[in-house]
């Protein structure tokens, strides 16, 4: 069909050359495209890809800052940092995983039952990343492992920084504790600032001064390969790596006197109660104790669920800070405040004697109010009314004052509102008023005159915390100065060693109260300890210096208000709360104290002796003589804050732990 074609080599060659040129043109176009692309990548977008390439290979490893120390006023360390030891396993380097774990279990370092769970956990990690397989090794466990270490390739002991409270339970409600950062806390902190930080302050000074104590974390850049494994010898690539050292947190200096704190906790042992002692001239808290207590180290090192439940379910509520949060009626300790208010408002003449029998009739009603244990006080003035703690006398005073005046006066003494202490969690107590009653019991009977009457003896709906009571005692001691209670007196920069002292905060001065009124009330409070009819006479009979005090016995049920019940036959939960307030020495007080012992009966019975011992310990020298008043009583200057803190390491560390310090 088709014509026979003759092969024409010359024509074919010419065509071939044309085709080659055509192909060459195509190739040139393609080459230009490649070159343009390279120019775009390497010149136009070079900076962009440079950043991506650095981001690829450089990982920033945070270096946590050393948390600031917490020391008492003498520089004794209450909170420090200490390495804990973990057993870490690097899966890559372990030839026989199950066998190694079983041998560790045989050494007593693991529980045999945990092995399957551990293997699952290890398998879920990157094979070259160390996995912690056992936390909080004890010293003997570390030693036991150390001598057999050669048997366990790929298993290492790794030191971790942890918080350490060397004094354990002592002062736990003041310093608080740290624990692992929770999800809700994570929302409130800067995640960048906390990268590398495992623990955060949960309560007390640890929480309030979290920012100061935490410091500023640093970082170190390391070179990682595509698998995320650190490149140990980066060579020329190291030049792109930066490092920023961490700045340690400031040390916090507390006003606490550990000698007194220790004694207070010892005296409270076995009771549910609280002690708050402070310097009335600056609000410095000398001791802040609540009983029972707990060991904050449990939280800092990871508390087990079992341990936590044991604390939570303990009927004594050891986690509950009674000093700041226990809101209770305070009984007769309120009487000095009522008397001062009534005198200032002119409704009470201290010299005028009235007859106080065993009961008091509310005028215009058949309501009867009893004296404590139906005692008959007799014809007495204010002085004896306070000395004897005569309820009938104060029913009368409160009735004459009326709720309006009482409701105005009690906040002047710090009741019904927070004292402003520099740790979180404080409760404000309650000063009941008709307005409060209407709001909280809208379907009740409203405010009765009887409510006013029992307020005069610190009963009814009135509530205050031990801290508020100590603060109030401080106002009495200084004749009207209301210093904000505080635990932290100074911050110390660990690098420059400079201490920034905080000035005390004066919140008020009750200048409207006349000198005469103060004199009458304080003389009466002195009489409480010196007059044989005084409620604290037998508690203070051995005192070598003048003391002003007031007892309180808070009834918890209406039946008890009669006072005619047998202490031993009443269930513990229903027994009276025992309160005691005191300040000393009388004319130039150095310490104001409030003591609460729950369900222990009359104030003089349980709380009084505790207060007496604390006052003696604080005020008396080794030979039982009153110590001279020193300027330190006002602005305490830590003495022992020298080299012990400079080490920034707990002095109780064993040499091995010290060696593990960074």
């Amino acid at each position: 069909m088709s014509p026979v074609r003759i092969k024409d080599n010359w024509r074919e060659q010419r065509m071939f050359v044309r085709r080659i040129w055509f192909v060459t043109a195509l190739m040139v176009v393609a080459a230009i495209a490649v070159f343009a692309r390279l120019y775009y990548l390497q010149v136009v977008r070079q900076h962009y890809y440079e950043i991506l390439s650095v981001a690829n290979g450089v990982r920033t490893v945070p270096i946590p800052a050393a948390r600031g120390l917490i020391v008492d006023r003498d520089g004794e360390i209450m909170a420090s940092n200490r390495p804990t030891f973990e057993l870490e396993l690097t899966p890559d380097e372990v030839p026989d995983l199950r066998g190694s774990l079983q041998r560790l279990a045989k050494l007593g370092l693991l529980h045999g039952n945990d092995i399957p769970e551990l293997i699952r956990a290890i398998k879920s990690h990157l094979s070259f990343d160390p996995v912690p397989i056992r936390l909080q090794l004890s010293e003997s466990e570390v030693a036991r492992f150390a001598v057999r270490r050669y048997e366990f390739p790929g298993v290492n002991i790794s030191p971790q920084q942890s918080r350490w409270y060397p004094l354990k339970n002592l002062g736990v409600f003041a310093i608080g504790y740290v624990g692992p950062i929770s999800a809700s806390e994570l929302a409130h902190i800067s995640q960048a600032a906390y990268a590398g930080t495992a623990l955060i302050g949960k309560s007390g000074v640890e929480a309030q001064y979290e920012k100061v104590l935490h410091g500023t974390n640093g970082y170190r850049q390391v070179l990682v390969n595509a698998l995320g494994r650190e490149v140990r010898r980066p060579g020329v690539l190291a030049r792109q790596l930066h490092e920023k050292p961490p700045v340690p947190g400031d040390d916090v200096i507390l006003s606490l006197n550990l000698k007194i704190q220790r004694l207070a906790e010892k005296l409270l042992k076995g009771h549910d109660g609280a002690v708050v002692a402070l310097n009335p001239w600056n609000g410095n808290v000398i001791a802040l104790a609540s009983s029972p207590t707990f060991n904050p180290n449990l939280f800092a090192r990871g508390i087990s669920e079992k341990q936590y439940l044991a604390l939570v379910n303990n009927p004594g509520m050891p986690l509950f800070d009674r000093a700041l949060r226990s809101q209770l009626p305070i009984g007769s300790t309120i009487k000095p405040a009522i008397a001062l208010g009534a005198m200032t408002d002119g409704v009470l003449d201290p010299k005028k004697r009235i007859f106080a029998g065993s009961d008091w009739h509310l005028p215009g009603s058949d309501h009867m109010f009893h004296n404590y244990k139906h005692e008959v006080c007799g014809r007495i003035g204010l002085n004896m009314a306070i000395i004897m703690s005569c309820d009938v006398y104060f029913y009368h005073v409160a009735y004459k004052m009326g709720i309006e005046r009482i409701g105005t006066w009690l906040p002047n003494f710090g009741f019904g509102r927070p004292t402003g202490i520099d740790i979180p969690g404080e409760q404000s107590g309650l000063v009941p008023t008709p307005a409060w009653m209407a709001k909280h019991y809208p379907h009740g009977y409203g405010w009765y005159p009887g409510d006013t009457v029992i307020l005069g003896i610190g009963q009814g709906d009135f509530m205050a915390t031990p801290l508020q009571l100590a603060h109030y005692t401080g106002i009495l001691a200084t004749r009207g100065l209301s210093f904000q209670p505080r635990l932290v007196t100074g911050l110390r920069n660990p690098l420059t060693h400079k201490i920034h002292w905080k000035r005390p905060v004066l919140n008020g001065n009750l200048t409207m109260i006349s000198r005469t009124s103060w004199k009458v009330v304080i003389k009466a409070m002195h009489g409480v300890t010196t007059n044989p009819r005084g409620t604290a006479y037998w508690d203070m009979i051995n005192a070598t210096y003048p003391i002003a005090a007031k007892t309180g016995t808070a009834q918890l049920t209406r039946e008890q208000a009669n006072g005619d019940y047998n202490l031993k036959e009443t269930p513990v939960k229903l027994r009276d709360d025992s309160w005691f307030i005191a300040f000393a020495p009388l004319q130039k007080p150095r310490i104001a104290i409030a003591v609460l012992v729950e369900h222990a009966g009359a104030g003089a019975l349980a709380a009084g002796p505790i207060a007496m011992k604390i006052l003696n310990a604080y005020l008396l020298g080794p030979k039982g003589k009153l110590l001279p008043a020193t300027p330190r009583a006002r602005y305490s200057m830590p003495r022992g804050i020298g080299p012990r803190i400079d080490a920034r390491v707990d002095p109780t560390l064993t040499p091995m732990e010290r060696a593990a310090e960074p």
Partner: protein, 378 residues
């Protein structure tokens, strides 16, 4: 001596130096040999860095180069007539080997591409890369050009039989390159423009249909090429990381052995398919320009040699070998820089491993044979 040379040789030989005389005796082309040597040397320099200073890898490559040079020398000495006559046999052996792979091939990385020959593993697809253009050139040698439809049908069978076998391995990249080598022969044989266009359209349709029968990963590669950021850690990883490597190199590069993308393993396949990115990262645009100029020189010289060939077989085969070499370079550079989809094509003479270096040098050996024996041909 000189006089004798003048008496026996052409006037051009008078200026030959000693080295050139050796090359001539070996039937090698001087400029092409120098170009190849420089490219291979540059490649060794890069490979040393890309491998992180792995001496064994370097030695392995030098040994492969040595083997390639031996094969090249041997092929250059053969006469083009012999090569032409051997073409159908070579093609036949290649097809048989591909069938053998399909039957008893060694599975590696999920693909059946290798024949286990005792100590060495052999990829028959490398042989077929050269055998297909040889076969096509052989087929067209006796026939009047441009080819007719009947010829085209025969060529289609010649090309598509091995392509189908290789694609089945599966090695879609190599299959496409084999097809391209055959197609280049047909194009150079002077196929009419309108037929070329028609065939291109046909190829597009075939590709669209082929997309439906692709393996999941093959389709993923193509889709990833269109939008690499969609899967930065899986299928898009290669493209993103290689572009970061190239781009961060800038104009002058980060320095030899100092490319963080390559040293820290972020760049995948950095000694093989993506070694181009190592050049870009460590030597910058300048280093890449040097490499591309070397390639340009090699390809240009190869095309020149092809154009000098006197007979159809030599011309078509020589031209196809040169153009195929270009395609390899272009696909590899394009893939690394994100111009074309990721297909497993090594960078000629530079990438580590496999039998590709031997294949490439074999191709140049054939080309030199075709050129240096041109006077002996009709």
């Amino acid at each position: 001596m000189m006089r004798q040379t003048i008496a026996t040789g052409s006037s051009a030989r008078r200026t030959l130096s000693g080295a050139a005389r050796v090359l001539l005796a070996l039937k090698l082309d001087g400029p092409l040999t120098v170009g190849l040597a420089l490219t291979a040397a540059y490649g060794l320099l890069i490979l040393f860095s890309a491998s992180g200073g792995d001496i064994r890898m370097l030695i392995g490559t030098v040994l492969r180069l040595g083997l390639g040079v031996v094969v090249m020398l041997a092929l250059a000495r053969l006469s083009p007539n012999l090569l032409r006559r051997a073409s159908p046999w070579l093609y036949g052996v290649g097809i048989l080997l591909l069938l053998a792979v399909a039957a008893v091939g060694h599975v590696h990385l999920g693909a059946k591409r290798w024949l286990d020959l005792g100590p060495v593993e052999f990829q028959p697809s490398e042989l077929i890369k050269i055998a297909v253009p040889m076969m096509c050139a052989w087929y067209l040698h006796e026939r009047a050009l441009p080819p007719r439809w009947r010829d085209l049908a025969a060529l289609a069978v010649i090309i598509l039989a091995p392509v189908a076998l290789v694609a089945k391995e599966p090695d879609l990249g190599t299959a496409a390159l084999i097809a391209a080598a055959g197609a280049v022969v047909i194009f150079l044989s002077g196929l009419r423009a309108r037929v070329v266009i028609a065939l291109l359209l046909l190829a597009v349709v075939a590709f669209a249909l082929g997309l439906r029968f692709m393996h999941g990963y093959q389709r993923a590669r193509l889709l990833t090429f269109l939008n690499p950021q969609a899967h930065p850690l899986s299928s898009g990883y290669h493209i993103i990381q290689s572009q970061i490597a190239v781009g961060s190199g800038g104009m002058f590069g980060k320095g030899w052995m100092a490319g963080s993308q390559a040293r820290l393993d972020f760049l995948p396949e950095r000694t093989t398919d993506f070694i181009f990115a190592v050049v870009g990262e460590e030597f910058g645009l300048l280093g890449l320009a040097v490499l591309l100029l070397l390639y340009t020189f090699v390809i240009g010289r190869a095309l020149y040699l092809a154009m000098q060939c006197p007979d159809t077989f030599s011309r078509l085969l020589g031209g196809a070998l040169a153009v195929t070499f270009f395609i390899y370079v272009f696909i590899n550079a394009g893939m690394v820089t994100g111009l074309v989809p990721v297909v497993g094509v090594p960078l000629p003479l530079v990438s580590y491993g496999g039998s590709s270096i031997v294949t490439e040098l074999s191709g140049f050996g054939i080309l030199m044979s075709l050129f240096s024996h041109r006077k002996l041909m009709g």
